[in-house]
């Protein structure tokens, strides 16, 4: 049954990758990266059990903690970007 979940997660990963490649907006790409990050954390925890070495859950924990930073960095990037372009050109 671990295999069933792993395959579902892997297929979802490829769907997310398709979304990231298709775009069309930058936000779709960020959404895809964020989805992919969550799926990676899940996949790593499932595979750790599949291997029978649950001490490797640290990796999934690292992703659960850190995946968030990328999205926040993007949010800040977009905020700075819009601020700067409004400041320069007037209006968005």
């Amino acid at each position: 049954m671990y295999y069933v979940v792993s395959i579902a997660i892997l297929v979802t990963m490829s769907l997310a990758l398709a979304r990231a490649l298709l775009g069309p907006t930058v936000y779709d790409r960020i959404l895809a990266v964020n989805m992919f990050g969550t799926k990676t954390a899940l996949l790593l925890s499932v595979i750790a059990f599949l291997f029978g070495r649950p001490d490797f859950l640290d990796l999934a924990l690292a992703y659960a903690l850190i995946n968030f930073i990328g999205v926040l960095a993007v949010l800040k990037f977009v905020q700075d970007y819009t601020l700067r372009h409004r400041g320069r050109g007037g209006g968005s």
Partner: protein
């Protein structure tokens, strides 16, 4: 079955890489870089390299995206359109790909226990680690003790890169001191209440997890490199949320410079201490009356030095780039 998973993810990896190169929008390419790193981590994990996967996770998911985005904010996020096709490059690359693939037919297949790599040195490391060093994680033992010279060299590469970024991005106009300081009105994401509350909750856990990875390196995947990347990711999260000046109030530039130099110094000092006590450079057995205890002490101190320097360098690079973003 697991092998098939690996095949599937590596196919995704190739698609992602081609997407990265083809994408006209650099922002999209950076997002795909994030995906690429996640897939690499999964493949590393499937191929039994837990330590490497943890490093890729710590570096790729947190730090790399943030640094690339800062660089994009300073330059431009669109690649200029080229009409001319690069046929020469395409031909050379395709021909070389075919040649490399042809060469792989002589390679031992994946996981072959008879492959030449597994015949020399590695079996000795695996067999002798319990007796000489007595830590379960052979990767840590090899990294810090058996191949300490390598690690020292790598640490100095990182050290040099940190110093280099400092000098390249420091503003020469203000005399006498490197002015990498951000403008004091940098707000970060203070107006966004929800991410701010959740993020502030996460920061201590990330740093705590980094410390766990640092000090648990003997028993599980971990070590100075991973811990340094994790802790700096935590501090970068704080800087994103509260503004860079708040982060610099917590850990100042002077402290970061001290960390960069101090960690490298600690590593060398442990090596020299070994020489003083009558052993070779980076020979930890002489650090204590019991050689195994000496090895434990040496590995602990060396990993600590690595962690301190990596944290200092990554944070310095982040602050140097983001101070530029605010000034522009």
């Amino acid at each position: 079955m697991i092998t098939l998973f690996g095949v599937f993810v590596s196919t995704l990896l190739v698609i992602t890489a081609i997407g990265m190169v083809r994408s006209q929008n650099l922002f999209g390419a950076v997002m795909l870089t994030g995906l690429f790193s996640l897939q690499m981590a999964v493949i590393f994990f499937i191929l039994d390299a837990a330590d490497v996967a943890l490093t890729e996770a710590a570096v790729g998911a947190g730090v790399a995206t943030v640094l690339l985005l800062s660089a994009l904010a300073l330059t431009s996020d669109e690649e200029a359109r080229r009409r001319r096709r690069r046929w020469v490059a395409m031909t050379v690359v395709s021909a070389t790909t075919l040649m490399v693939i042809y060469a792989t037919f002589d390679q031992p297949r994946l996981g072959d226990p008879e492959a030449p790599v597994h015949q020399h040195v590695a079996p000795w490391y695996l067999a002798e680690t319990p007796r000489l060093i007595d830590v379960p994680n052979v990767v840590t033992a090899v990294l810090a003790s058996f191949r300490g010279y390598d690690t020292l060299g790598e640490l100095f590469v990182i050290f040099t890169a940190g110093i280099g970024v400092m000098f390249i991005l420091a503003d020469g106009r203000e005399k006498g001191r490197l002015s990498l300081l951000p403008s004091p009105d940098a707000q970060g994401l203070r107006h966004h209440l929800v991410p701010r509350v959740v993020g502030r909750l996460l920061v201590p856990f990330i740093v705590l997890f980094g410390l766990y990875v640092q000090f648990h390196a003997d028993f599980g995947p971990g070590g100075g490199f991973q811990a340094g990347a994790l802790i700096s990711a935590g501090m970068i999260l704080y800087a994103l949320l509260e503004g860079e000046s708040a982060a610099l109030r917590a850990v100042s530039f002077q402290a970061l410079a001290g960390m960069i130099a101090g960690g490298a110094f600690l590593f060398v000092a442990v090596g020299v201490a070994g020489m003083m006590l009558g052993g070779h450079f980076l020979d930890y057995s002489v650090l204590s009356s019991d050689p195994v205890v000496g090895q434990h002490l040496g590995i602990f101190l060396v990993e600590l030095g690595v962690g301190i320097t990596v944290t200092g360098v990554l944070l310095t690079i982040f602050h140097a780039l983001s101070a530029r973003v605010q000034r522009s």
